[in-house]
Symmetry: C5
Subunit: 324 residues, 5 copies
């Protein structure tokens, strides 16, 4: 699906153009084209490739989703694969998708797969600052990457939130049954996030320094440094969260063991409290001929009182020892 | 065994040739030979070596299987060792094998050991695109490596599948006895897979950049970058799976402990529920002379009811506390 | 808020100046300006940016807190982000904050966010040694970084202190309930500290060697090496503490298990001591017609003595075996 | 002890020579000497040093065993320290030793310490291929290193064997008591093996590329690459085994916990099966005046049957629940 | 405190000199001074600094102990900080200290802090080999570092010894209570040792190669390589020990669990052995009117024998199953 396709000059949109004029506009002095596609058909991709002279291998990759984030140079053009993650507050879930960006002389093509969210917002913001947009395709690449990377933050915050809730569940009064499973699932999620983010560190670093030297003017490089910075921060957050989680798991295991000790102490205490009078009633139930205390007046109530007192004493002892 | 042996020119097969003409065909301008061997005899290897001038050490390695994946340059020729893994859906097992590839000026020799599956499919696909095959031995090396690496994906997916099943077994209603063993065996399998795959990262990287500069034309290098990409992805999947597995093991251990707590709580609850009436029957079984309640009308059924009520009360208490 | 704003020449303050004269003073030969801001308004930052020609991206960063520590060069100027941590002995807590420092030709601007503590002390010490201060903005950067880094030491000492207390709690006579939680919280704190400190290693290293070559005279570099050294030391302390903590956690887990063994031994011992006489009283409570011992004189007291002796014997046995 | 001392020319032994003629022979054009010593006396080492001009520090090292594997260049000569490990099938133990090799222009000296096994086999194989031996001292160094490294393989196989046995012990029907200790001891052995092998990776790599450029002709370098390859393979095997072992330890721990759960379930089941009739006999042993069922005909056998049925029912329930 | 202060020429001591003549002697052609200080006063350090022109920052560092081991170049001079550890066999403890060494043209100053032990032994050995000492201050630096590093070996051996004892304690017949604590304390000690040793690897490496090129003649470099070697060896020993310790901790935890299983089995066995006759005596204590066996002759002794036999049978069963 063609989301939009326009030509820009001096930072301003000059025309909406059909795909089969891309080549012509891209070659005009001072112009560049910006095409946004969403899960495009083979025909659409074919037209774009023919018009802008994209490399076979890059196009092949662009077709299929589930790529690893990467940055590749084919001759004069760059091919960037990004994994997108967005926290969807309505569904209370993480939307995953993929965005492939071609940057060539006079042309930017973004191809979205999955739930990436539209980039019309990015386009809007770029068009609102013609001074920046005039820097050309390299700046558009920055704007797209910045948008993708910034949408990781709410995802990380959401996970941080869940880790905080986990901590309460672990150390709180009422241990919850599914803590272990929740830790495991957060761990799994972090592994996924890590895979999306960590290759970006290298990609941004390369864009900050040397890659794509015809496409990215020197004045745009500091912007990529900014993206680099965010990516490193997200990466560190993920690592920190993983470490916290493994700490949480160990703490959880410790606390399970401690609770087991508590249960055992309680079990032992009550067993003791009941076993002692049980022995006594056994004694007074024996059939010896001469058991003088059995015939004393008030022997029975006294015996009951005596046993109750004994149980109360034992109970107090165990309570003091912290077993009950 | 000689699987096939042919000479190519301009991307098309020009002749099936016997081994002892390899040298002559390899030296013809614009021609190259492609030989496929399967667990060859000493004589066959000897002929190939004499014809194509292979290095002693490489041939020695080619003889024996169980090599580490590697890429070596001997003068003008390359020697590549690959470990193959294929998911065999019929046997429901992983077929393992090894493939050694010699690439020299005008010659490619592939030697298969073990269950690697035939490369006739690769040959077929190459012959179907003469434009690509015309790029020479370097392209054939790419085609073989791409084939080997692509056959790792189903293996990884199979393992991912089993990990998913494991998770269900761990967190499911009915804990299974052999979970621990299954985790351990998957771990073992991942260590093996890792050993096959991880040296390929470096090998592909070298092929993408500088190694074999006479044999691999610049236009073929991006293809190796594609293989590199797949290898890195597989490598990351393996690492992710290993991490998941160690998380699964820890989760399993936690859940075993939690289950132990549950058993202990049940044990303690029932011990309590039975111990209290046991004490009472002991009391009423004592032989004190004066135990007035024993002589009351309906004392016995009342006592039974009283004890049953007590047990019901205790049961409810334990139930509420989540011990039963 | 403008904390202070002054011009210096030859290491001495020559004037307190308003923000809109910064540019003029910064350009005077042999002069530099030093501005201290605390959570400045947009207008204040705007004026400073206009006067000193700061880069857009750096200013944008300076606005918001919660940056990662970093060092960036924008043309001729440096932008440094530091995370501050101070042990607040009154609140018995760690004050966290952030300080951003711009260093340009003839100008230093420090911007504080959060609880960083005033830098008037740094300014005072610098003004007291005009010989050092005469080295210019680079020396002021050193003085600020040294101050920030030195205030990490009490934080680390405080954590070391708490680890020492933890050890006592773990290995002491009276195991404490919340040990696990305390370990976890220290771990969390160390992860935070690590994130503040570890990027500084690289930053200081770069300042010691090559970055900002116009701004940092060669004679100032050894001072940064000093800061580098402290940062590395703090970093190593943090790593050592983390390792100790993970050791503490494992030790704690071991000891919980050992204590469980102890409880079980006690439970088993007392169960045994009580079960044996319970069996005996059951025997003598049986209703067999002929049980001659029941009719012997002194049979009952002898039986009681016998059972007591048996219990004493069992008790001694268990004591000897270390079960009680 | 002098094991052998001979001069070679063109790959053939030309003379057995006494130690004090080493210098003269080593200097002859096209000749080199090869000396094999076993735990030599000070006098022997002294003579060799004087004759071949070895460096003081190297000789000092050669005296004492328990060195770390290393490769050092002293002027024109190389000094290599190797740790040897051989699986001794008779003693069913690993023989450990050390071999120091000096390689200088025209001279190779090998010094054995401990149970390294004689190198006469290496000498024999070298003398059998004069074409190779003619490449000089560098080739002898290769032959010795290859021999040492190849003797690691049986050691690794032996350890792999024991790990396989361990796995059977862990997952088998009859858990064995000493599993933990066996894991620990294998771990210790692997740490030792790792220390012997891992420095060799770097040493072989250096010999493959640049070190000792006067002594190792370019045509010998591929041979060291072969040794390098073996060392990397052994190194990876060791790492794989360590990982497997740590997995085995965790699996073992899990299984111990699972077995504990099983024991507890059994204990609880039998406690329940016995406690229920115990309560009933208590009830029928009470002394209430009116307990009509006691006087019914066949009450007693019916009661016994009832209790037996109850126990059988409980037993079946527990069996079904998998507790028994 | 001034321990000694002397001037050397051609490897021989020529005069004991006061601190205020250091500068003059250091500048004499072919002479160098060697000063040994122990926790010097400010005045003493001041004099030395003035005489030998030491850098402010280095002197500041020299004042305070608890530095990280480091090597710094200030202009033409080197400043080395070493942490010393010595096994004190009398106190049965590790003496810790610090030594700072300045090396400048014509001067070596060593400053000891804490329990480092005197360096008079090093001085003595150096003076005994004038040939070596004639190599100047660089050789003295080597001699001091060699001495410091060699004194680590007994410390490591002592720790290895304690680990060996630990292993006996863990796997021995009589598990000891404080094993966990001992493991933890050894771990703590190893972290400390690691911190003292690991920075030395880099320091020695730099001294072996390029640092201090005016001060360390090329012929002295191999000596530093020797120190480097020892440091690497110690470092590896520490790493090996840490790994062993973590293995020991895990083994200990396993064995605690195994012992718990054993206790539970014993508890369960005895509970069963006693519960069965307890049920029987309950049965024969019931008050049913017709219980024919109660009236048989010899019923009582037969019942006792029956119960004893039952207990013996159960005991044998449990014994066979390995539960007792």
């Amino acid at each position: 699906m063609i989301v939009s396709s326009a030509a820009y000059a001096a930072g301003c949109k000059v025309a909406d153009i059909p795909l089969d004029e891309l080549g012509a506009w891209a070659k005009r002095e001072g112009h560049f084209v910006w095409v946004g596609l969403f899960e495009p058909s083979d025909a659409e991709i074919g037209t774009v490739q023919a018009q802008l002279g994209l490399h076979d291998l890059a196009v092949e990759d662009a077709h299929r989703a589930y790529q690893r984030p990467k940055l590749e140079e084919y001759g004069e053009s760059l091919f960037v694969v990004l994994r997108t993650m967005r926290w969807n507050p309505e569904k209370r879930a993480i939307d995953r998708g993929e965005t492939h960006v071609f940057v060539g002389p006079g042309a930017v093509v973004s191809i979205r797969h999955g739930d990436t969210g539209s980039y019309s917002e990015v386009r809007g913001r770029c068009e609102a600052t013609p001074g920046h947009l005039a820097k050309g395709p390299g700046f558009v690449l920055y704007a797209l990457m910045d948008h993708v990377v910034d949408s990781y933050f709410p995802v990380i915050e959401h996970i941080e939130d869940r880790v905080a809730k986990l901590e309460k569940a672990i150390f709180g009064e009422h241990p919850q049954r599914n803590t272990t499973q929740r830790i495991y699932e957060l761990k799994r999620r972090l592994i996924q996030a890590k895979r999306a983010v960590s290759p970006l560190v290298d990609i941004c670093n390369r864009l900050t320094r040397w890659d794509g030297h015809q496409l990215i003017p020197d004045e745009v490089r500091p912007y990529f440094r900014d993206v680099y910075d965010h990516v490193v921060r997200i990466n560190e957050s993920i690592d920190g969260l993983r470490e916290l989680l493994s700490g949480a798991l160990e703490a959880n295991l410790s606390l399970i063991s401690i609770r087991q000790n508590d249960i055992m102490k309680k079990l032992a205490s009550w067993a003791g409290i009941l076993a002692v009078p049980t022995l006594l009633v056994g004694i007074w139930g024996m059939n010896f001929e001469t058991m003088p205390e059995l015939h004393l007046p008030f022997a029975y109530p006294l015996a009951l009182v005596f046993m109750a007192a004994l149980m109360w004493l034992l109970h107090r002892q165990f309570k003091r020892a912290g077993w009950l």
